[in-house]
């Protein structure tokens, strides 16, 4: 019951923060002058009409040849009203305006198309990264201060420090070009589960997961080596458990209290994709969509994707807190008022 209340409270706060941020975003965006960029061979009248139909502008002014040359702005709060009404009444998040590829297309549809690659890459990266990272962490903790530990430590500090730009470039240059094991960029098409598609995603997956492998290994090593020195481990050994049994049944479980939430939150936060990796390996994911909506100043896309990113960020933080409570009942988040 306590947990339930706590979760409700956190979700309430999340919704509030989310609404404040999006309201600010909406007002700030709508206060900007409207940008009309007709793509090649596209009629700019169409864009004006589309914006008028969405209730963002009104009173179009035509010149003699029928081109629209002017318009009046709609008050921002009225726009907000229309926007919210469309979302809640019709589930309509707007259409693309300035991005030639997505001009006139429904925001939600395009988002749905761009989500699978991002999610797949993220899932693959977690599937590869978690076992390897935990494995190295356990190895380093068990062999603390021996040569195995030293080597793992060197790799950890290297991989944690190397920026994703550099990692991505090295992978692209060495594995895709010099060794020619993978294609340079992701395959096109929508058949995301096919084998060639999987292979073409791998460089990006590696670039993503190398950093998190190092992160997990570091975390596991620190946590596990602390648990291994605690007294209940001694008890476990004295009552006759082998070293392996003691480590995995007792030490790992306790170490996971800290490790698991970090895995969960990383999974949630990488859902939004890495802008750099998606850009580097030409992955048609959410990050790329966000980037091009910014460059083209396509505000409906920008609003929706900003909302998505804010939500993912907020979720990642509360997932950690809530999962603590589930994994370890001793921890009661937000209960006793401690200093700080």
């Amino acid at each position: 019951m306590y947990m339930f209340k706590y979760i409700l409270k956190r979700i309430g706060l999340l919704v509030m923060t989310f609404c404040i941020i999006l309201l600010l975003c909406f007002v700030l965006i709508k206060a900007l002058p409207i940008v009309i960029q007709a793509g090649y061979g596209e009629d700019s009248n169409l864009i004006y009409l589309r914006l008028e139909a969405r209730g963002y502008i009104t009173d179009l002014v035509y010149d003699q040849s029928g081109n629209i040359i002017g318009f009046s702005n709609v008050p921002i709060m009225t726009q907000l009203g229309t926007y919210l009404h469309r979302i809640f009444a019709e589930g309509d998040f707007g259409v693309g305006v300035n991005m030639p590829e997505y001009s006139g297309r429904d925001v939600l549809d395009v988002f749905g198309e761009n989500l699978p690659p991002t999610i797949l890459i993220n899932v693959y990266s977690t599937l590869i990264g978690v076992p390897i990272g935990l494995g190295f962490g356990v190895l380093a903790a068990l062999k603390k201060n021996k040569w195995q530990d030293q080597i793992v430590n060197v790799f950890i500090i290297l991989l944690v420090s190397l920026p994703s730009i550099v990692l991505g470039l090295i992978i692209q240059f060495v594995f895709c070009y010099k060794l020619d094991w993978f294609p340079m960029v992701m395959e096109t098409g929508y058949d995301y589960l096919s084998w060639p598609m999987f292979v073409s995603m791998l460089p990006a997956v590696f670039a993503l997961c190398l950093g998190s492998i190092a992160g997990y290994a570091r975390y596991t090593r620190a946590e596990l080596s602390e648990v291994l020195t605690s007294e209940f481990m001694l008890l476990a050994r004295t009552k006759g458990l082998t070293r392996g049994q003691a480590t995995f049944r007792h030490a790992m479980r306790n170490a996971m209290v800290v490790i698991f939430p970090s895995i969960l939150s990383e999974f949630v936060s990488v859902l939004s994709g890495s802008l750099i990796i998606e850009n580097m390996f030409s992955i048609p994911g959410v990050g790329r969509l966000y980037l091009s909506s910014i460059t083209a100043q396509d505000y409906d896309f920008f609003m929706f994707l900003s909302g998505f990113y804010v939500l993912v960020g907020l979720l990642a933080t509360i997932v950690i807190d809530i999962s603590y409570g589930f994994i370890d009942p001793r921890i009661r988040m937000g209960s006793a008022k401690t200093n700080g």
Binding site: I29, L32, I157, S161, I165, L169, F173, I276, Y309, G340
Partner: protein, 523 residues
């Protein structure tokens, strides 16, 4: 209430006249900072990190002074010129080992033979005809492989080049091939290629050299246009400067010499050796400090000097990182101090503001800033990170304030009448200083990396605002030619990796040194 203020002085007397003193400490006292420094020095990785950080900082400060190039300079003719530091060794010399077929090889070999600027390094080559077709193996010099070019210049420039030649003794202008020959003996795509100064013929749509000895690719025959000495042509060409070897020959009792220009409608068409022409343009005409083309780290695909871009980008990165860190520490410390010290309602309200601000992705902040400031330059970057960067610092300070504000010594100070402000800055804040210094060492690389990512993604373009550039822009430019010229992306990447690695080692060492909870738990 009794009147405590007016108790006469003589009513007081010492209870115990002999004041007992503690014995003085016999060991040397150790200050907090001294202790931290000693602990820091024990950590070898951290010391190495600190040294590398210092070296990179020196590079950022003084690096740009050592090159005449600026980030805005570009020369497309030297696109992806290779890194060149040494002249005589076969390493880092602006050359690469390569192989080519006969015609390509001859054209490169001929450049060196004519001008002495060897496109084939030292004019050394080996021939391999084992696999059917003949291949030539040699070291191609990316600075000299341009050879000669045709340039249309006005009379003033023409005279100035001659003057330059006379003053320095360096040959810029080379004799021309006759225009009719160019049309007849060269394939259509080669008519404007000034590197055919030898006898050629067109065979199968390609220009092929006519050799004196068909088995010796070095036996090319010059094919310069010449005129009789003292003729009208000589007067019209107005050439009175250096001449190449073998000029002025006698044929049928008349003296001939080569044409060094061709009259066109508004000036002259000349054939310049690009290496020498470049030297003339920069050292004599523009006098911009550049002498010969010489790119220590090579040139990008747009012909920018990588060294200049990298050192200027590094300088900007450091300035950005340090400035943002300092401002953020300042703002964060004040904000966190107020939150932590006053607590209660004040804390609750200020924390909600922080919560909202910290949940806004930096991309949104930057995009909105860009639109509002009508710029994509450095000002956006600074504003965006000033707006949200201090949150972490505020959190740290707040924690420390909560931890220390109820300590007895603070209470004692308050009893003695210390004001809030004095309590905050003199008594509590110094406790947070160590943590803040540490987080500063970790915040600077994080800021630099954000800056590099934003410029890499093209969201921020520093080149739009003056003579600036960023490492991210450089890497992004390098990625576009990753396959043909990998060094363009690799050199800034190495710099970035080194910076991040050393800053991480340094920062972690600093954290361990300042974190007293680790005391006695080494290893």
């Amino acid at each position: 209430m009794a009147d405590f203020n007016n108790i006469p002085k003589e009513k007081f007397k010492f209870a115990n006249k002999e004041i007992s003193h503690d014995t003085a400490l016999s060991t040397k006292s150790k200050s907090y900072w001294g202790d931290a420094f000693a602990r820091f020095c024990k950590n070898k990785g951290a010391v190495v990190g600190a040294i590398v950080v210092a070296l990179l900082m020196l590079f950022a400060i003084f690096g740009p002074l050592f090159t005449p190039y600026s980030p805005s300079y570009s020369d497309l003719n030297y696109s992806t010129a290779l890194p060149k530091l040494f002249e005589d060794v076969d390493f880092w010399d602006g050359c690469k080992d390569t192989s080519a077929n006969k015609e390509t090889f001859i054209s490169l070999y001929a450049m060196g033979k004519e001008t002495g600027h060897n496109a084939v390094k030292r004019q050394e080559f080996t021939v391999d005809s084992s696999s059917g077709s003949t291949l030539y193996y040699y070291r191609e010099d990316s600075y000299h492989k341009l050879g000669c070019m045709y340039r249309n210049i006005d009379e003033e420039t023409y005279m100035q080049i001659q003057e330059y030649q006379n003053v320095t003794g360096r040959q810029v202008l080379y004799p021309m091939m006759s225009y009719t020959d160019r049309k007849n003996l060269l394939a259509p795509q080669d008519i404007d290629n000034a590197n055919f100064w030898y006898r050629t013929k067109v065979s199968g749509g390609k220009t092929v050299a006519v050799l004196a000895d068909n088995n010796d690719p070095t036996s090319i025959i010059p094919n310069y246009n010449s005129h009789e000495k003292g003729s009208v042509i000589e007067q019209s060409l107005k050439y009175n400067s250096l001449r190449i070897e073998g000029d002025e020959f006698v044929k049928d009792g008349k003296t001939y010499c080569y044409d060094y220009a061709r009259l066109i409608t508004d000036g002259y068409e000349v054939r310049v050796n690009y290496f020498e022409y470049y030297t003339y343009v920069h050292s004599y005409r523009d006098k911009d400090g550049i002498t010969e083309p010489y790119f220590v780290f090579g040139a990008t695909a747009e012909g920018k000097d990588i060294y200049a871009c990298l050192s200027n980008g590094a300088r900007f990165s450091f300035i950005f990182g340090i400035l943002v860190a300092v401002v953020n520490i300042f703002v964060g410390a004040i904000y966190g101090a107020i939150e932590g010290y006053y607590g209660g309602k004040m804390d609750l309200i200020l924390e909600r503001i922080v919560e909202v601000l910290s949940a806004v992705p930096i991309m949104i902040v930057i995009t909105l800033m860009k639109e509002y400031l009508h710029s994509s330059g450095f000002i956006v970057l600074f504003m965006a990170y000033f707006l949200t960067g201090w949150i972490g610092m505020a959190g740290t300070t707040r924690m420390q304030f909560y931890r220390y504000k109820n300590h007895e010594y603070v209470l004692a100070a308050r009893t003695l009448g210390a004001k809030d402000r004095r309590l905050m800055w003199k008594h509590i804040f110094p406790n947070a200083l160590g943590t803040l210094v540490t987080s500063c060492a970790l915040v600077i690389p994080a800021m630099i990396f954000s800056e590099v990512s934003m410029t890499y993604l093209g969201i921020i373009n520093l080149e739009s605002s003056g003579n600036l550039t960023s490492v991210g822009t450089l890497i992004s430019a390098g990625q576009k030619c990753l396959l043909s010229a990998p060094f363009v992306a690799m050199i800034p990447s190495i710099y970035l990796a080194l910076l991040m690695l050393s800053f991480n080692l340094f920062g972690n060492g600093l954290r361990d040194a300042f974190n007293p909870s680790l005391r006695g738990a080494e290893g």
